[in-house]
Symmetry: C2
Subunit: 285 residues, 2 copies
């Protein structure tokens, strides 16, 4: 069992990881080896102290080098749920489960609101995780919704399994030319499950797309969906000044705790969150 699991490789997670490593805590860090799509695509960052007028790419390189030099590893996975087992926590990543005494949530923020019945039908034909659930749809027809180019590789992965993909790409500069992917324009409004046929229906303005399953690909998932029992308000996790949530041993940091959505703020909160975890672990002893 790990002392703590950090979820998220944005600035909050990075800051928490550096501090926990320095303090010799045994942790697992789950996220993306490329860190954060938001950082990667930032044009120019002027107000992050110490990195002078950098591009997002330059910031990412600086972070990555520091992480490597401190010999910190990132486990690439998508977390599908965090569960309170009363004595400790279980983090589910598709088929894999990791356990820890405490949790650092650096989830980012979901700026895109769920559509009607999306959350209600999660796990019943709706999925947020291509790598977790893709295999369920081998040789079947699926529908995929994405607001960002960053998920195109996941769409391609799904297309390698499914017989046909209806791809609702809600961004510009779409780069998708697989023969079994049908790029569709339009705005999704609602999901329904047809009780008779068991097919999933994505209701668009003026049309309905029917398939065996729907993937909603997102950079961040609503905290309440990911961590049952966590107190959230207006889509943000409620924390105190020490980044403690309502769940014992669970801290949160960065955009998921609220505005301003800023690198410096996330980095500061990640640091405080790490110190609170150390205090929590010390009190367990």
């Amino acid at each position: 069992m790990f002392d703590t699991i950090i979820i998220g490789t944005g600035p909050a997670g990075i800051s928490a990881a550096l501090t926990l490593k320095q303090l010799n805590i045994n942790f697992l860090w789950i996220g993306n080896k490329n860190l954060s799509y938001k950082i990667n695509t930032a044009e120019k960052i002027r107000n992050y102290p110490g990195l002078n007028q950098v591009s997002g790419k330059e910031m990412k390189e600086a972070f990555l080098k520091q992480i490597n030099d401190m010999d910190i590893k990132i486990t690439e996975a998508q977390v599908t749920g965090v569960y309170d087992l009363s004595s400790h926590y279980a983090v589910l990543c598709g088929q894999d489960t990791y356990e820890a005494k405490s949790i650092v949530l650096g989830l980012g923020v979901e700026s895109i609101k769920p559509i009607l019945d999306e959350v209600e039908l999660l796990g019943q034909g709706v999925s947020y995780c291509a790598t977790c659930d893709g295999f369920l749809y081998k040789n079947k027809e699926i529908t995929v919704v994405s607001h960002s180019k960053e998920f195109e590789h996941e769409v391609k992965y799904l297309a390698s399994l499914a017989s046909k993909v209806n791809y609702i790409a809600l961004y510009k500069d779409i780069d998708m030319d697989l023969s079994n992917v049908n790029v569709i324009k339009g705005v999704p409004q609602k999901i329904e499950k047809n009780k008779a046929t068991k097919k999933m229906e994505l209701h668009m303005k003026g049309s309905v797309i029917e398939s065996d399953g729907i993937f909603m690909l997102k950079a961040a998932i609503s905290p309440a969906v990911l961590v049952p029992g966590i107190e959230a308000k207006d889509g943000h996790i409620v924390v105190d000044r020490l980044m403690n949530t309502n769940l014992k041993g669970v801290v949160a940091a960065g955009d998921c705790t609220g505005r301003p959505y800023q690198y410096a703020k996330a980095v500061g909160e990640g640091n405080v969150a790490a110190h609170s975890i150390v205090n929590y672990l010390n009190n367990l002893k």
Copy 2:
């Protein structure tokens, strides 16, 4: 009148200044052109994201370059008081007064507790500010207490005015060879004012040093002393998640708001404080 005055040139003040500059706020920034003694003397910083295994000097150089490149100026002064004038705030720096609609406090933290009656006798023979009050003691005898080498240039300045300086240097590696400075060992315990002679008495373990005035030189001054009316607890300014204090339009950030005393935490809070100032100013309109 300024929109805001930032007090302090540590990481919290730096972060607030960068963000307020980026947001086009008209501010005055009071502190030290050398930024922060604490940063300057840090040996190795490993957990500040983006600056990889830097020395304090390297961190300072990175901060200074960014400040210069963004054309931000520092006004060198020591703040002696911040006063609520109900419609706005006045910041006193010795003989100079600056006014602003709002205040960002990045005061750092005073790790050295005041001795008995030090605070009570402030302005009545006890001073925290060499450059503000030094001229009052021209050709007189004074006593100076300092816990850090960083104040030696202030002691030398005082020695250029006073006839004699009794210097209680509470640190190692003292570099002070002026003929009118008498370096004394010992631990100050209490200050008294002799009502008959008007002389100031610094009571040490086993001895009493009498002079015309006492300077207690410190990197940070207790918030309650500097900002009358501000809510503090255990020596830290009480703030909410948006860094608001109990005083309208006054925010605080960094070590002065509490532990952990960390660069990343201070930088994060400075950023949030700057955003809260912008919201406050917008609501004034």
